[in-house]
Every structure is written in C-alpha cells, then in structure tokens.
Symmetry: C2
Subunit: 419 residues, 2 copies
C-alpha cells in the first residue's frame, strides 16, 4: 500500500468531485448508505473507543477541562447513540428534488424550481465527536459531500469515525471521498477550508461564540452562523405568577449549558413586587445565582449586584441576570441592545403586548407564554437539527435537512427565443 500525501486543498477537490455523484443518488441509496454507516459504527465500537481513549489521555495531560473531557468521551453506550442518530437521519424524507415553484411562461417555456444539494458542506467545530457523525449524516442525507474540521482535542476519535464512515460508503459503492477531514492540517486546514470559495459551497461553524466569530470574519465561503444565545424573557405587567415561575425555571434550569436557555429576565415594574420574590426564590431553590439590578435586590434576598457586563453575558450555567424595566418600550430597547437574535419570550395575559412583542423583537424565534427551550429542531418536529441559525440569510432559527439544500430553476422549452 502506497501512502499518498494529499494537501487540504486536494481533499476538498476530491469532496467536490464526489459531490457530483452523491448529489444524484436516489432517496433509497442515501438511506441505505446511512443504515450501513450506522451498522459500521456499532461494529467498530472497540476501535472508536480505543482511539477516543488516546484523545482523552492527551486531553488529561494537556489540562483539558473536566467538562470538555466529558464532551469528548465515547463509551459503548455513546457510540450506540451515535449510530442511532444516523439511523434517525436515514429515515427522514429526502430534502432533494422537492418542487418549490412551477410556472409556464406565455410562450410555453415550463419553469420548475427544485431543491438541489449545495454540493460541498464544510463544518468547523470543537471537541465534539458526535458533530462529526451528525454533520456527515445530515450532509449525505441531503446529497452533499462534507469537509470536516473537528479540532485537535478529538483528532484520533474523529479520524476513527471518519475512516469507518468512508469504508461503509465504499462498501455501498458510493465515492468515499464524499466525507473528508482537514483535521491533520491543524489551524492551516481550518484556514484553507474558510478560503475554499468555489470548492466548498457553505460553511457551518458549531461551537463557542469565539469560534463562530472567527469563522464569520475570516471565511470567504458563505457561512451559516449558528450562534450564541443571550436569550431574554420579559415578565410583563399581567404575567401570571405560575407561568412566570415555571417558564423562567424551565428555561434556566432544565439544561443551562445550551443556547436556548434563558440568560436575562426583564420584569415590568408594575409586576415586580408580585413576581420578583417568588421567581427569584424558585430559581434559588434550584441552585441559580441571580445577578440583579437595585430594584431586584430591593425585592429579594441573595441577589448578586448585576454589572453592565452581565446583560451581554451568555452564562451557560446556573446564573441569571434580572432587571426591572419601566414598560414594554424599555424592555424592547434592552433586548435590542443585548439580544443575540436567537430567542426571546414574553409572559403576559395582554394580547396587545404579546402581539407587539412578537412583531417588534428581531430574533429568529419570538415567543409569547412559552419556554425558550422550545427553540430546537427536534421540538419543532424537524427530526434532525443542523444547528440554530441566528442570521437572516438563507435560514433563520432551527435548521432541518431542507436548509442543507439550495435550489435550481429548470426551464424546458421547444425552441423559444426572447422577443
């Protein structure tokens, strides 16, 4: 066996070439390939766990945080979960070939707008082996090739997973070059991926706000920004205590480390006396530290004084910022200033206030009387989630498989010319 040294660019060009055949695969062929990948992942559990152990040992030596070590860790149960996720994707409807528009011109030319794969999807992410499998499966289901850059901490694990997936594709008669990694090229690989305009069609970063900022700033490949969530809940003057308490607690405590968890609660002055005490009490009972302004501190005990920095902070932990606002206008102004345009919710019994909030808040998902934790592809019924877009181009909010497709106009004529 000869060893070929391929550059990062060579690998991306191979992905581009593979994308042509993968883009033409039938629904059934893609689904069957994903089932084969799931089986292959489970069959290779021992190899994958062994590779993962190498990454974990290196991580422990280099001082990787316990939290990141946990994210990185794969055992047999987690490998099975990876395979199960691939099987779920295999069963989703094919997003390619949907007819999105159809019109016949007066001269008889028939126009059809159909969904088509992007071609090559790139992803840059951090220390999460599950993303390696998720993104590869979602890309393949939507007829795309994929180029992955998964970070040094998970390098061996990702290499093992990618080798298994590529072998499974080859065994199914599908070009294995459709799944590529530039991990071994380190930061230079990430840089080349970001500059591969014309080869890579879209780049989806997944990870910290800093990683996403770097990709958005440095990439000449179009990026779908999946973003940080400085998520707000406004307790309006008429907010029922029970809804306020249950929704705020759920939105903060159920899973504090994710982007749809609430970070800041705004309380209408007219409701402050009625709501601040019980809501803060319920949060504190669940171990939440509340950073509050003076008005909040006057109505509850155990409040850490809020700083200006708190309003812009995505805590991602059992910490929450709380502020009393004079009215809906002040709440909207606060949200305009600090929101990352992910999700905001108003708790109110005033329909006019709810509708104004829904109309004026400029975020991917705007809610009335529901927990911000519902901003999620699975909750929305998409069956899979590519990420949650916080930008306005192409996709906004939870992205499902259709968001991994582009469109193409087909025109069928019989000799027509323009007059």
């Amino acid at each position: 066996m000869t060893t070929t040294v391929l550059s990062a660019r060579d690998r991306m060009l191979r992905a581009q070439s593979a994308a042509r055949s993968v883009g033409l695969l039938s629904d059934r062929a893609k689904s069957t390939a994903l089932q084969a990948i799931a089986d292959a992942i489970e069959a290779a559990t021992d190899d994958i766990v062994a590779a993962n152990a190498e990454d974990l040992a290196r991580g422990a030596e280099s001082g990787l945080s316990i939290g990141l070590q946990d994210r990185l860790r794969l055992d047999a149960t987690r490998v099975s979960a990876l395979a199960a996720a691939v099987r779920d994707v295999a069963e989703l409807p094919d997003p390619v070939g949907r007819v999105l528009d159809r019109r016949t011109l007066a001269n008889g030319v028939e126009l059809t707008k159909v969904s088509v794969p992007f071609g090559v999807v790139g992803s840059i992410y951090e220390a999460r082996p599950n993303v390696t499998v998720d993104i590869a499966a979602l890309a393949l289901r939507s007829g795309n090739a994929v180029v992955l850059r998964g970070g040094t901490a998970a390098e061996k694990t990702n290499a093992a997973l990618i080798a298994v997936m590529r072998a499974a594709l080859a065994a199914e008669g599908i070009d294995p070059e459709a799944i590529q990694t530039v991990d071994e090229f380190g930061r230079e690989g990430a840089r080349e991926l970001m500059q591969a305009r014309g080869i890579v069609d879209v780049l989806v970063p997944r990870g910290s706000a800093q990683l996403i900022e770097t990709v958005v700033t440095e990439s000449s490949v179009p990026v779908i920004e999946t973003g940080a969530g400085v998520v707000h809940i406004l307790l309006d003057a008429t907010a029922p205590l029970e809804w306020a308490r249950e929704i705020v607690v759920n939105a903060k405590v159920q899973r504090p480390s994710v982007c749809n968890a609430v970070e800041t609660v705004l309380v209408h002055r007219d409701a402050a006396e009625r709501l601040v005490g019980p809501v803060v009490g319920a949060l504190q009972e669940r171990g939440v530290t509340v950073h509050g302004d003076a008005a909040v501190a006057a109505l509850a005990s155990g409040i850490v004084p809020a700083t200006d920095a708190d309003w812009a902070t995505e805590h991602l932990s059992l910490e929450l910022s709380m502020r009393v606002v004079d009215d809906l206008d002040e709440a909207l102004e606060h949200i305009r200033q600090y929101s990352t345009h992910h999700t905001e919710s108003i708790i109110t019994q005033d329909d006019a206030a709810a509708e104004r909030f829904l109309a004026e808040v400029d975020s991917a998902v705007v809610m009335a009387n529901a927990s911000t934790r519902f901003t999620d592809g699975a909750e929305f019924g998409f069956g899979a989630e590519v990420g949650i877009s916080t930008q306005k181009l192409h996709a906004r909010g939870p992205m499902g498989l259709p968001e991994l497709t582009s469109t193409k106009w087909l025109a069928r004529g019989s000799g027509q010319v323009r007059v």
Copy 2:
C-alpha cells in the same frame, strides 16, 4: 440650519434605527410612499438632470468611456422611466407577512413562520443612477432601510435622487433616514459598508465581475452574489438546425452586454458538420466574431482561433467562443470547468440527454431548448428584479421581492415548558 457632520457609521446606524419603523409599515403605507417618491422624482426632473450634467461634464473631462457616459446620462425621458419603475414596484404584492409554515406542537404551542424584512439592505454598484432608485424602491417595498454606495462617477446624480426620495418619505410621515448613502465617503465609505456586520443585514453588489469579487472577498456582511455569466449553449447531436440557429443568435445578439447572453457554444461532434457552418454564418451575418477551435475553423470561414482564455471570458459583446466536443460528457466537463453557474442551455431532441443535462449542470438556471436570455426576473414573471444570484445560499437565479425578506418563527403558547 446647522450642518451636522455624520460619519458613514452614523448614517448606517440611522438606517438601522429607521428600519424598525419601516419594517412595521402596512402594505398600503409602503405602496403610497412609493407612489409619492415616483411623483417627486418626476417633479424634480430639472434638478436631477442638472446634477447629472455635472457628473457627465466631470466624466467627459476624466475620460469616462462613451459607454459609461451613456449609462450615466439622464434626460427627462429617462427620469420618467425611473419614476415609472418605482410605480411598478409600488404595485407589486407586499412580500412581508407571508405565512411560510405553520405547525402546532403536541403540547399546544402554535408555531408560525412568517416573512419579515431583512432590516438594512446595502448595495454597492457603479455609475448607474437607475440602480439608486431601483434598489431604494425594492428595499422600501419589502420593508427594509437601504444604504447605497453608487460610485463617484454618478455622485451628484445619486445625491439629487436620494435627496428627492428622502424628502418624499418625510412628507409621507416616514423616517427619511431609511434611505442613506455613503457616497461622499468614497472608497472608505464602501469599506465601512462592507464591515458593518450587525448593522447592515445583507449586501447586494451590482456591477463588474471585479467589483463583485472585491465585495465577496472583503465583506463581513453577508453578500448575495449577483454574478458574471460565462453562459453556455450545447448543440447536442440531435439539435434541430432551426432551433440551434435561432436560439444561439437570439442568446448572443439580442442584447450582448448582459449577463444572460451566451458566451460559449459547444457543438456535439456528431452534429458539427450539419450545424457549425449555418450557425456560424447566421452569427457572422449579425456581426458576431466567432472564436473557434480547430474543428470549428475546419467547418466555417472567418473563424478567429480560440485561446484558452476565451473559454473563461464573458465577452459581453458581439464575440462568441465555439468548440466541438466529443460527447455530452465532454460538454459537461467543459461547463464544469468554465461556467460561472449562471445559465446553460442544451438544444436537443433527445429527452434522455436533456434530462441528464438538466440534472447534472450545476447552475442557477438550466435549460433545454430555450434561449438563455430568459433568465430574467421580468421574464420569470417576478415583476421586478433585484439581481440574478449565482450563489447557492438564500437565493439562486433571478431574485424578486421575496428574496429581500428573511423569516421569523412566532411561537404562541399558554404557559408550556419543555419536559
């Protein structure tokens, strides 16, 4: 009256602020405002033509080409045409507030996906005063504020047009800051516009390939690329002579300076002897210079030898490149290598070849047996055209008003939390 010196950034921030109220305007208010703008433009014809004369005089002094001087020139007739175009936009349906998806979760939360304005649309373009009015009107119709950078050659004309449009907005009680220019800041204004991520939501460059390349490369604001067209027609083995001749002549000659005009004709070897002579003859009769490969030169007279550069050239003039290919595979390979992914068409009577071409060519519009000149918003029945996107994200092909909107999910609940 005091003179306030505003920076480019100040102007963009004012546009962002104005976008909030403009985004909430009713269909009727936007339509009425556009009618008022059209009236105001016609009423100000003398001022606009006078400002334009200053630009033209400066252009003539500085050696602006005759072609560009003609693009720049406004007389009373052309000013009326600008106003008429605004009236057309006023009558288009409002693209904001369309319900694009609706689902009720098992827990009763109602989700609605609606179209919303982007917020602030930026445009960088060159020496075409009609774009100033077109983009401002399209942006306003879709509830967006706009920041324009129209190039130094048209500076006085654009300033006059923008002053008229802003005054008309103010008279209608609409925030005039919704129409902004950064023209007076020159290249620095363009640079700041490209870096205004978080203020400007999307940037639409219109102009030369070089201008678009610069914007795509330098902008951190998401860009919708409207691109160059190295457009191909393949004359397949079974192409009827009449269709081949009429479509190629129409696609090249009807308006050679636009992006949907054909630049390269590929001829299947089995049809070369039958088609090359008559098609080249028909082109030459219409004044077209044909750059051909050796096989073409062997079948027709007056052929300029084609160079490698010709295949990548968007002539935008009465010049055309022509090559004989062995088969459909070679044609697809040539198109993959040289296409700018705008429009390609196959002329054939072989349905299998047509369907393969439609499936495998990766362009915004792929045709069988029709002139490439049909790739156009008006021809597609969109009523207005924002540009023709040659990228795959958000919009592909001719863009109408809906492509100037984003989406937002609205969630209406009654106290639901995630379990």
